[in-house]
């Protein structure tokens, strides 16, 4: 670990050496781009587009004003890889941006960071000031004649869609963060309609290492088509959650059971969610899937930015799908009809299924809406919003059917589909449940076993959460 507020500590770990080497050996812009291409690094922001290619497009786009932008919006709810990098190693991100800026010929730089990360913003600003003092930013950087670049931090204002690159640029310009039509691509007309290149935090942080150690050294890590390492944030029903950096190509099983120590309370593993609201669930029988872009895509999930939420037997997959749809429905910018209203309709259907009001045909209707939304949305948000629903239908159709036909939630998660009963062996007759029941559905005298009249129970779950003796049974 290094102290992120002390530049010298980063420098002691080969920090800014890559940049200095570029200056000393007068390495050309083309050569840097070639190195990045050769390393095989693909964007870590979710899409997995080869970074070198992107830089090449921006380089080829001639203009006397160009921008290099770092996407630090980290919108996936349940992921915090970028946060840890920004807070723990801000200079690596900055050096990566300066190198990228050199390669494409940028004249300005912006880090778009979500406002929910105040510490990251503070540390970035400290680091930027230090870099300016040392001449890693500013005019004729490191003595490279005519290479002038400064970077500033722009705070986001809380909109998931602003992680999308064109929306992010609109947001920097102070507008509503609504995605723009492509083409023109950002490489031709991005921020302020000038050629721009945008990469994720982790992508930039990898660059100094690649330039310093050489592309071949980087390409040694990882699998055939996905090079290097990837940071994952493992959360959910896992024994040891947190951040792990693994070589591409490791199996999900190894990540969860070897690194994460297995499932909390030794329950049964059910699925793992990758890619957040744009991603999907990978079920138990595909646990041998290797984490690289292509293998993960083959399951219907996406690699995403690295959120990995582990789910066990008590997680209801319909509820998970509903959760993500609720998120994307709120975060849709509203530009496209299908994304704006289609997600709302899907959410309504999912909600009614989890409340036991699902109808025959609901699954088919969900699928139909899903494909329509995917086909007629402008940006990645709409195009991927149905993924959590489609993958859960694909792998857990039986759970949907149990909700709809049998009015049962196999994971005992959906409150409205449970039966609440008093366990006579545990009930002490404390009367708490009877007092709290909003419809007086519980009978019983003090110190005697209580009884729930099923016909009157509205399944609010209050008695279950109130009973101090675990005497309310669910089934």
């Amino acid at each position: 670990m290094i102290d992120p507020e002390v530049l010298e500590e980063y420098e002691a770990k080969d920090g800014y050496k890559a940049l200095k080497r570029i200056a000393e050996e007068k390495i050309s812009q083309e050569q840097i781009i070639q190195d990045v291409l050769d390393s095989g690094i693909r964007g870590r922001g979710g899409g997995g587009f080869p970074t070198g290619m992107k830089w090449k497009f921006a380089f080829n786009s001639k203009n006397d004003e160009k921008y290099i932008i770092c996407n630090a919006d980290e919108g996936d709810p349940g992921a915090f890889m970028d946060r840890s990098l920004l807070e723990g190693d801000p200079h690596a991100v900055i050096e990566g941006m300066v190198i990228g800026g050199y390669a494409i010929g940028a004249t300005g730089g912006v880090i778009y960071c979500r406002a929910e990360y105040p510490l990251a913003i503070k540390r970035l600003n400290i680091a930027l000031e230090q870099a300016r003092q040392k001449g890693y930013l500013g005019k004729n950087i490191c003595g490279i004649e005519g290479f002038n670049l400064d970077i500033y931090v722009k705070e986001g204002a809380g909109a998931f869609v602003c992680g999308e690159e064109t929306a992010l640029m609109a947001s920097i310009e102070g507008e509503r963060g609504m995605p723009r039509k492509r083409p023109p691509f950002p490489a031709e007309a991005g921020l302020w309609r000038k050629p721009s290149n945008i990469n994720n935090v982790e992508t930039f942080a990898n660059i100094p290492w690649i330039i310093h150690n050489g592309p071949q050294a980087y390409a040694k890590y990882g699998s055939e088509k996905s090079k290097g390492t990837k940071v994952f944030a493992i959360t959910g029903k896992i024994k040891r959650g947190g951040l792990v950096e693994v070589p591409m190509g490791m199996t999900i099983e190894d990540i969860i059971f070897k690194l994460g120590g297995g499932i909390q309370d030794d329950k049964q593993f059910k699925a793992v969610q990758l890619g957040g609201p744009s991603g999907g669930c990978i079920p138990k029988h595909l646990i041998h899937t290797e984490v690289d872009y292509d293998q993960v895509n083959a399951t219907g999930a996406i690699m995403g930015s690295g959120g990995m939420v582990v789910m066990d037997e008590t997680t209801c997959m319909v509820d998970v799908a509903r959760f993500f749809l609720d998120f994307t429905q709120k975060e849709s910018c509203g530009k496209c009809t299908f994304c704006r209203i289609g997600t709302m309709r899907m959410l309504e259907i999912l909600t009614r299924i989890t409340e036991g009001k699902g109808k025959e045909g609901d699954i088919e209707l969900l699928e139909e809406l899903a494909y329509q939304i995917k086909d007629s949305s402008l940006c990645g948000l709409g195009q991927t919003a149905p993924n959590p629903v489609l993958t859960t239908i694909k792998y857990f159709r039986h759970e949907y059917e149990a909700h709809i036909r049998d009015k049962k939630c196999p994971a005992l998660n959906c409150k409205q589909l449970l039966t609440y009963e008093v366990d006579p062996d545990k009930c002490t007759g404390c009367t708490v449940c009877a007092k709290k029941c909003p419809v007086q559905a519980i009978d019983g005298e003090r110190k005697e076993v209580h009884f729930i009249r099923q016909d009157d129970c509205i399944k609010c779950g209050d008695c279950y959460s109130r009973c101090k003796f675990d005497a309310i049974k669910l089934s």
Partner: protein, 172 residues
Amino acid sequence: MRVQRIKIEGEITSQDQVDLSLIDPLLEKYKNKKGNIIPLLQGAQEEYGYIPREVFQKLANETGIKLSDMYGVATFYAQFRLNPVGKHIVKVCHGTACHVQNAGAITDALRETLNVEDGETTEDGLFTLESVACLGCCSLAPVMMIGSETYGKLKGSDAVKVIKEIRIKESN
């Protein structure tokens, strides 16, 4: 879309007189900069805790930005508040990790204790209850944040206890 953010006019009331001179330095700084709507609104909210109507009006008058453009931006982003908030903002995380660890129960318990719905402020002006997506400490799920204090691995009853403690402190 955050449809619920678009409230009917008339609900927006500001009880206290707003000191409009507070935003003068802010106007000075951003007045003629391009792309200034978001920083202006962020700065104003920093000053008042929310963006009062009069402030919108003043910003519009002084910068020439259309009021509609400003409201467009203010209602688009989750960060901006158009109504006064309580002294303590209780942010309950409803990110994925917290959701699967039953964050719903936390919000339910708080709704009952505070007697407000999600997004509302208590009558005494002490608390505002909010749902947020991921506070970036998912390993502690479920999480809530009050001020700069983060509370992790919560149960509904723990959350209620925290509120009670704050209430006691406030009444002294």
